[in-house]
Amino acid sequence: MNFDYNEEQQLLADSVRRFLAKDYGFEARKKIVSSTQGWSTPVWATLTEMGLTGLPFSPDYGGFGGGAVDLMGVMEAAGEALLVEPYLATVGLGAQFVARAGSDAQKKAILPAVVEGKLKLAFAHTEKGARYNLSKVAATAKKSGSGWEITGEKFVVLGAPAADKFVVSANTDKGLSLFLVDSKAAKVKAYVTLDEQRAGDVSFLKASGELLGVEGGALPVIEEVMDFATALICAEAVGAMKFACDTTLEYLKTRKQFGVTIGTFQALQHRMVDLYVSYEQAKSMACLAASKADSPVDAKDRARAISAAKIKIADNCRHISQEAIQLHGGMGMTDEMKVSHTFRRLTMIAQQFGDAEYHLARFASL
């Protein structure tokens, strides 16, 4: 039993945090999110230089062979700084499908480019009305010569505007399957999400694609990768919660009313304590999620642990974000305070990849 990061993990997390503290302050981030692209090419280049885009991929393709636990510290730092670069979409989702289900040729074609930061991917899966049900897909794929033609509409595809390639889910005669589709073959309606990231609705009309993995055998892979990505946003949430707690505590110690700092009021002290407890409990569950996402256990055991973690993280995202705003008073409502932006990200994480109710049902069914 050991809950610490190893030396390499700690060093990496520290250097990411140092870089973000220097180049990704709240003001710098403001400029980035309001730019046309919505994320920063130089920041992406630095993330690549630091090896982050190669972290969870095999050394055979230039990566470092890490897992979810190796990414935890990075995701925590990203959560603290509210990083908006399409890291999760590419490294946590899109390329994971290639790494787990792709052929040797597909891995060779895609993973080294991902590791070098040259290629971005997005996972085009969710359709209108499907909510969090991973098997509910109406998009179809038909054989056409040596390849496939994919037709369907996907919604809220994270990182879609930046993506060079999409991993798309669609049904064939044999069932749910995955395909790689070039972004030029798709139509993207781009927008900004509540948490200031870029996403889009993506439509495919007889778009040509290649099969990724086993035809009809996509669901277990989708579940595995979604669990992996869920573990990552659990860690990201912990970082965002840490910022929300730290900044709220600081505010209680400096803001004066009735001639004293408001942190001297017991009514507020106890609520601050509950935030701290919430954060520690969330951190514990994020450790569980990352460990289970990595260990070669059976899928059921993994899914149970990840769902348990997401239930707790979702509940505590709401608790901490709402209380952080309340304890900041009117100031917390304003766009000029970072905490209001952290509120927006925590609100989204609470319902990204399944909200608490979805995971409650999933946990009970396992």
């Binding site: 039993m1 610490d4 106890h270 701290y276 409990q281 450790c287 460990s291 409650l360």
Partner: protein, 404 residues
């Protein structure tokens, strides 16, 4: 990061589990499973079984019978006891008076009291709270006046009242915080730690029956009670130092995780057996099941948090400090939630309380487990009040950890 127990730790768990299975008497197991009241003999019987095995006071130094287990092993042992449903080890001697004597006692005091505590030959209780001194313990008023007596030796004369004295009606001895000097401006000064024989003339124990109908706590009155001066622990006026030492004493099992795991498992079985309004098992009712799952997830989070603290302690060698308060808050909230959900499963069958003229619904032939649920629900409201109310725990975290 590795959340798994080591091979040695798992082997240790298997050893403890196997031994408990073979050595926990069936009648005691049943009493605990059905939430029956445990008597002095029940409690001491289990104490003596563990003492004979050498496992009754793991944290004590080896020469006094300790096991030399590390913090993780101690945690595993306590978790397994909770999970197996053993009677509790009453903490007043083993975890409170014992450690105090080991740290502050004279050689004579150690020799006189520690073997009896270890072997379960003397039943101890705790005299801290008073009617006017609950959370604000330092305001206590029970007075001990030192009397010089050349013939029979110096002694204290104790007058006052203690309350919430858990199992005081079973106790042979009580350790008390008393005021030996009321002239000092700082209230924490002038308090002393005294050991008092419950058979001393002038002591009266009056039961305080709680809303579950059970007799657990008492009021203890002291009326000119003569206590030999040799029963003073540490220096006169330094009792608060002793009390604080106990509060900071490593509290390994504050979260009661093993016990809550057992209650959760029982609740799941119970909810699978009981039929809901729709004719299906209660556990299939989504509204109930979601509540149950949230408690289960809380318990998972608490367990991992507890293990994180243990891991930290093991490597730093430092006690966990104020973070233990977090385990108390969450642990008691979970214990209470489990009793509440069990009540929900029992539904209308939770109502029978006792037969006319009897103390216990079981006497009327009601199912022993179901009959125990409502009293237990009532009884467990105590957990967020005792051992430093959960509000006091929040004060501790606010001050010590957050610097508010």
């Amino acid at each position: 990061m590795d959340l798994n127990y080591s091979q040695e730790e798992s082997a240790f768990r298997d050893e403890v589990r196997g031994w408990l299975k073979a050595n926990l008497p069936q009648d005691l197991r049943d009493k605990v499973a059905n939430y029956d009241e445990l008597g002095r003999d029940d409690l001491l019987r289990w104490h003596k079984i563990l003492a004979k095995k050498g496992w009754v006071a793991p944290a004590w130094p080896k020469e006094y019978g300790g096991t030399s287990w590390n913090v993780v092993q101690r945690y595993i042992f306590e978790e397994e006891c909770g999970f197996a449903g053993t009677p509790p080890l009453i903490p007043f001697g083993l975890s409170m008076c014992g450690p105090v004597l080991l740290r502050f006692g004279t050689e004579a005091q150690k020799k006189r009291f520690l073997p009896d505590i270890y072997n379960g030959d003397v039943f101890w209780c705790q005299g801290y709270s008073e009617p006017g001194s609950g959370s604000d313990l330092a305001s206590l008023k029970t007075k001990a006046e030192r009397v010089r007596d050349e013939k029979s030796g110096d002694h204290y004369v104790v007058n006052g009242q203690k309350t919430w004295t858990t199992l005081g009606h079973f106790a042979d001895w009580i350790f008390c915080l008393v005021r030996t000097d009321s002239s000092l401006s700082k209230r924490q000064e002038g308090i002393s730690f005294l050991l008092i024989d419950m058979k001393t003339p002038g002591i009266t124990v009056r039961p305080l029956v709680l809303m579950d109908g059970g007799h657990e706590v008492n009021e203890v009155f002291f009326d000119d009670v003569k206590v030999p001066a040799e029963n003073l622990v540490y220096e006169e006026g330094k009792g608060w130092t002793v009390a604080k030492y106990l509060l900071g004493h490593e509290r390994m099992n504050t979260g009661r995780i093993g016990g809550s795991k057992r209650e959760l498992a029982k609740l799941k079985t119970f909810a699978s057996e009981q039929t809901g309004d729709d004719g299906k098992p209660m556990i299939e009712n989504a509204r109930f099941r979601d509540k149950l799952t949230r408690v289960e997830v809380e318990l998972m989070a608490l367990e991992i948090t507890n293990l994180r603290f243990l891991d930290q302690m093991r490597r730093s060698g430092q006690p966990p400090g104020a973070d233990v308060s977090m385990l108390k808050i969450k642990g008691t909230e979970i214990q209470q939630a489990l009793t509440e959900l069990a009540m929900q499963v029992a539904g209308p069958m939770a109502q029978p309380f006792k037969t006319v003229g009897s103390e216990n619904a079981r006497d009327a032939g009601f199912d022993a487990f179901t009959a125990g649920l409502a009293p237990r629900y009532c009884n467990y409201r105590k957990t967020s009040i005792y051992a430093g109310s959960n509000e006091i725990q929040r004060n501790i975290i606010a001050k010590m950890t957050l610097g508010l």
